[in-house]
């Protein structure tokens, strides 16, 4: 049995600091008192709060509050499953309610970094287990028996004498007990809910068109608004003539603030049309960069740029000087839009005494705090309700659209919903940064890698390298450098920041190295991991686990038949990466038929520890494969004079149903505490695909997107 007490508050602190996404504020699992008015006020009469996550209702149901934003990662299902498991409750009698932002009751109400699951795993279980214990104790007292002789099953407390009581009958008394400490948690073999295929709790609402997304939010009397931002990066607002727009039907006001021009009206379409009647002038405030400039900047900084040395082990120069063979290659990726299907939107009602914010955001606390600061209103006066999010991919970690909505509401003194069009979203910034990498490897006579160099150049990428990741620790001489170009084009985290491209590039480069060394790419990696000693992080812990890497690689090799004889015309490509605490190995299979090449299948081996919701886990892995593939093949945002040349899905190509390979997923079964899956299956994918296409066609795919106008590399790919 595992005891929950081993996970101390200090550990929480340390781990939140590690990820950087979650601010640590006061958190009390057992805080009493009612929730703020809002979504959670749905709690019923006859409902008894056991802790921040859980109320048990006298009608035999339980209400489980899900504190984190639901962005499609499935947290609104998997979190309550975890509570219900330890509560030993009937899943069909669980009602899940999205909790509003509440920094007293919850910590880290964030959807990002694939970190919600590892962060909350034990505390969710503790919430369920503690309530279960309180129910047992109540029943035992009523029956005058020893609590140790009672058991539970699906919401019932049972005693060998035949006595039984439902949790609903016990709830009123049980909720009054002082929550016991250090309640033992279930043994993994006793799990009944965790690890099973559980359907999304919002399915019925999604499938019948209920108003659950931010975009669907409506309140009587609210106004509709759109905000025009500068059309190019490097421009600022000079003058606005909104008179024609203001005279259009249904328009209430045209206001400008900062670089924004807002058109406010009574319906979406009227606002959209009036926007076209705006006369706005912009002036240059910074360089108006084009993609051609970026190309030049990459070239310059790759050779002459002032690089920051991020890691230096041994002496690479000496190793290269005595190398038997040198392998060198450059890889490059473009800017990408996050392009969630639901564009940015938010609702705000700013009044002198209170502020109401409602909408889709991955970082509700940051949204609230930014609004508090901007409007100089104490955070306690601001409520924030989270609507289901129609996709984020990192875009909604930045609450700029929520903050500007609040600012607009404070100016027009009215409740307002701001909606971005797709064009606003695609031209509005905060992109995946473009980056270029140069890899070099030195080989000795036996084909061992004696030195490894990586220089990453990013455009607003911050640090474009991940210096503590493999292959650091596996190669004696390592030099990792980074250079960043500051650009007016705004960037931000995009699903698996930096590694979303770096991982695939590195794994392709290792394929080049294996070829040059005359080694099998999987065998070469296994050999590297067998002798690797992972670098230590700030807390003195290894940055990766070589054993888990090896097991994951072996599983992928086994399932894909890597070491078996292949059918004629079948080519395999391998890739493996560790990110966001999970390990994923992938094998891509390209098949040649009548001179054409098709990516037929992708095998995935995944070590994310215990799988919480099998359905959600599969969805995340398969979705990441599709996402990674689509962007590697087709995704790119190019610039002309600071303006994106793609503004909507007619020119910004997303992957479609007829372009997906079969995907087969296998999980490593090791019983380790679960880690997240929102990101880890994406980074390695493009490497596996590039390596398989290379095997099949003899062409290295180093620049994304692989399918580009004016480039015929992929002309025979179906």
């Amino acid at each position: 049995m595992q005891s929950s007490s081993s996970y101390s508050r200090r550990d929480f602190l340390k781990s939140s600091a590690l990820v950087g996404g979650g601010l640590f504020l006061g958190f009390d699992l057992f805080a009493s008192g009612k929730f703020n008015a809002g979504v959670a006020s749905a709690a019923l009469e006859g409902s008894f709060d056991f802790n921040a996550y859980l109320s048990i209702n006298s009608d035999g149901t339980a209400t489980i509050f899900s504190p984190n934003p639901e962005v499609g990662q499935g947290i609104k299902t998997s979190f309550p499953m975890t509570v219900a498991e330890e509560l030993d409750f009937d899943w069909t009698k669980v009602k899940v309610v999205q909790a509003p932002l509440d920094t007293v009751k919850f910590e880290r109400q964030v959807a990002g970094g694939s970190y919600s699951t590892p962060h909350s795993w034990l505390r969710l279980r503790q919430a369920g287990a503690t309530a279960r214990r309180m129910l047992i104790e109540t029943a035992a007292k009523r029956w005058g028996v020893d609590a140790g002789t009672c058991t539970t099953d699906k919401g019932l407390v049972l005693h060998p004498s035949g006595k039984q009581a439902t949790y609903g009958e016990l709830a009123a008394d049980a909720a009054l007990l002082t929550p016991p400490k250090d309640v033992p948690l279930k043994d993994r073999k006793d799990f009944k809910i965790i690890g099973t295929f559980v359907k999304g709790v919002d399915n019925q609402d999604i499938l019948t068109g209920k108003p659950i997304f931010g975009m669907d939010f409506y309140r009587e009397g609210m106004l509709f608004a759109m905000i025009q931002h500068p059309p190019a990066f490097g421009l600022k607002l000079k003058s606005v003539d909104g008179s024609a727009a203001k005279a259009m039907p249904g328009i209430v006001d045209v206001v400008s603030f900062k670089n924004n021009v807002a058109v406010v009206g009574k319906s979406t379409w009227e606002v959209m049309k009036a926007r076209e009647a705006l006369h706005v002038e912009y002036e240059k405030e910074a360089e108006l960069e084009s993609s051609a400039d970026h190309d030049r900047i990459f070239k310059e900084l790759m050779t002459s740029g002032e690089a920051q040395v991020k890691r230096k082990d041994g002496d690479t120069a000496a190793a290269f000087a005595t190398a038997n063979k040198i392998v060198e290659a450059e890889y490059q990726c473009p800017f990408l839009s996050h392009a969630p299907m639901e564009p940015m939107n938010f609702f705000a009602d700013v009044r002198p005494d209170k502020v109401e914010l409602i909408g889709p955001v991955q970082t509700p606390q940051s949204a609230r705090d930014q609004v508090a600061k901007l409007l100089d209103i104490p955070a306690e006066k601001i409520s924030l309700e989270m609507m289901r999010i129609g996709g984020g991919f990192g875009r909604r970690l930045r609450p700029d659209y929520a903050v500007e909505t609040a600012e607009l509401s404070s100016i027009i003194k009215a409740p307002v919903k701001v909606m971005w069009t797709r064009e606003d979203d695609m031209t509005g910034g905060i992109y995946r940064p473009a980056a270029r990498y140069r890899f070099r490897a030195a080989l000795d006579k036996a084909g061992n890698i004696t030195a490894y160099e990586l220089r990453g150049v990013g455009i607003n990428a911050g640090n474009p390298v991940r210096e503590n990741n493999f292959p650091a620790g596996a190669i004696p001489n390592v030099l990792i450098e980074s250079v960043d170009h500051k650009s007016p084009i705004t960037t931000g985290p995009w699903r698996a920041p930096i590694t979303n491209f770096l991982a695939g590039a590195e794994q392709s480069f290792l394929d080049e190295v294996a070829e040059a060394a005359g080694k099998d790419p999987v065998t070469m990696r296994l050999d590297l991991f067998r002798q690797a000693k992972a670098p230590l992080n700030a807390e003195g812990k290894p940055t990766y686990d070589t054993e888990r890497f090896i097991k994951t690689i072996e599983l992928a090799a086994e399932k894909s038949g890597w070491f078996k004889k292949r059918k004629k015309g079948v080519s395999l490509g391998f890739s493996v990466y560790y990110s966001h605490l999970s390990y994923v190995a992938q094998v891509a299979e390209v098949v040649k038929r009548r001179g054409k090449f098709t990516l037929q299948k992708v095998y995935c081996a995944v070590d994310c520890g215990i799988v919480v919701n099998l359905s959600g886990a599969l969805n995340q892995v398969i979705g990441s494969v599709v996402d990674g593939l689509g962007h590697a093949m087709y995704g790119q945002l190019t610039f002309k004079d600071g303006e994106t040349q793609q503004k909507n899905f007619n020119t910004y190509r997303l992957i479609r149903m007829n372009e997906i390979p079969e995907v087969e997923v296998h999980f490593v079964d090791n019983g380790i505490d679960p880690t997240g899956l929102g990101e880890p299956a994406l980074p390695p994918l493009s490497g596996a695909v590039a390596n398989a296409f290379y095997k099949a066609m003899g062409k290295r795919l180093r620049d994304q997107p692989f399918v580009r106008e004016g480039d015929n590399t992929m002309e025979n790919v179906l």
Binding site: I206, K210, M215, M341, R388
Partner: protein, 152 residues
């Protein structure tokens, strides 16, 4: 502005809007039917798909003045209790990730099944390739269409 009488999900609705207002915004802003979603506004993503006399149609580019007497069906009216074979299959397969594109996907699939009750993979892909899913749920969408076709 003009008043339009629309036949939606077997009921009659009135909307007082400009003639060029896309049906999508009439549904969403004026009639409170928000199942059809906005994703692109240029008929490039399929999120706003509804049926017009049974045909899958992008409501974001369909002016309300062009609807006339044609029957409009939205996800809200696809079945009375949310139990259309496709809705049931979508739930059973657990298709949605974020869920935003799914009503459009289902409406495209429903139009397909009406004209072709037993589509093969190629036909499903053809009918649904105009519906984008940013979360990448395409495998399960295909499985759910097949499951619904099998059961109905």
């Amino acid at each position: 502005m003009a008043t339009y009488t629309l036949n939606i999900n077997g009921r009659s609705y009135n909307a007082d809007v400009a003639p060029d207002t896309p049906l999508l915004w009439v549904l969403r802003d004026h009639l409170g039917l928000v199942g059809a979603k906005y994703g692109c506004g240029i008929a490039a993503c399929g999120a706003c798909t509804i049926h017009l006399d049974g045909e899958a149609t992008r409501s974001c580019v369909l002016p309300v003045s062009a609807v006339g007497n044609m029957r409009v069906t939205t996800i809200e009216g696809l079945s009375e209790k949310g139990d259309h074979p496709l809705q049931r299959a979508w739930d059973e397969v657990d298709v949605p990730q974020c869920g935003y594109c799914q009503s459009g996907q289902i409406m495209s699939a429903a139009a397909l099944l009406q004209r072709n009750p037993k589509p093969n993979d190629r036909e499903i892909e053809q009918a649904l390739s105009g519906n984008l899913c940013r979360c990448g749920t395409y495998h399960r969408i295909r499985d759910a269409v097949k499951l619904a076709a099998q059961k109905s």
